[in-house]
């Protein structure tokens, strides 16, 4: 029962702040709403008993990337960007297409649940208290079965760092 309420609570916050983020004129407000959306998704990870991902999401996403975003928003002087119209000309067409996509995928989820056989696996998840300690298992699998992707990810981060530095350097 508690799970259900928690899920609906976090889901409502996530969808509401995401919607607000997209529609706000003031970029700082939309950044704040994105932060709330990210925290809500972190809450959902917690509800799914993925604590390690919960804290990584907070440290990396909210504490790292969003700080970057807020810094850039500060550096880019906002009063110029505010006056200009915020939405692209082809706004309505784009909205229509997106909603069509939504309807289609929604219908697919909806029906698959009904049809037997090729539908979604009707498994019951492992009970919460018999789950192994989350961070240990993540660590074990990260450094044993997924060691190569881990190294590639670190190279990727290195490349991104160098790229960002080169781009942001003053053209002297």
């Amino acid at each position: 029962m508690l799970d259900k309420v928690l899920f609906y609570f976090f889901a409502a916050i996530a969808v509401a702040s995401a919607a607000l983020m997209v529609t706000r004129r003031n970029v700082v407000h939309s950044a704040i709403f994105l932060i709330t959306a990210l925290l809500a998704t972190a809450g959902i990870f917690l509800q799914l008993r993925a604590e390690f991902l919960f804290i990584v999401q907070i440290i990396l996403y909210v504490g790292g990337i969003m700080v970057l975003f807020v810094f850039v928003i500060m550096l880019v002087n906002l009063d110029v960007a505010l006056q200009q119209i915020q939405f692209a000309r082809q706004k309505w067409v784009a909205l229509l297409v997106a909603l069509a996509l939504a309807a289609q995928v929604g219908f697919m989820f909806w029906t698959s649940g009904k049809m037997a056989g090729q539908g979604l696996p009707v498994l019951t998840a492992v009970a919460a208290n018999r789950l192994p300690a989350n961070s240990e298992t993540v660590a074990h699998s990260l450094f044993e079965s997924y060691l190569l992707p881990f190294e590639i990810a670190s190279v990727l981060l290195l490349v991104a760092m160098i790229g960002a530095v080169v781009m942001a350097k003053k053209r002297t």
Binding site: V22, T41, V80, N134, L156, V165
Partner: protein, 100 residues
């Protein structure tokens, strides 16, 4: 753990809002933020299924997505700053020059 359908619809909703953000907004920073939102929607799905099957691979993959999102955000913001310094604008439909 609720039945999987709930998580699917939630991530679908976030995904669609992200797509709307990318497609309709002119301000590049908001477009970038919407991309972050889409990545987040994907993460929810991954973690939900990882919890359903009890296999932690999904969470590890979500970890890699977050790392990649960080890298992508860093480079994209670097480009925006460089662009803003020269052209004084942040709107995407004015970014029509390949080399400035």
């Amino acid at each position: 753990m609720l039945p999987i359908g709930h998580y699917l619809f939630l991530s679908l909703a976030l995904f669609i809002i992200g797509v709307i953000g990318v497609v309709t907004r002119r301000n590049v920073i908001v477009v970038l933020m919407s991309i972050e939102l889409i990545l987040n929607a994907v993460n929810i799905n991954l973690v939900a299924f990882s919890r359903l099957y009890g296999d932690v691979a999904g969470q590890v993959f979500a970890l890699f997505i977050i790392a990649d999102a960080a890298a992508e955000a860093a480079v994209a913001l670097g480009i925006i700053i460089a662009f803003f310094r020269n052209r004084e604008t942040v709107l995407e439909d004015e970014m029509d020059l390949l080399k400035w």
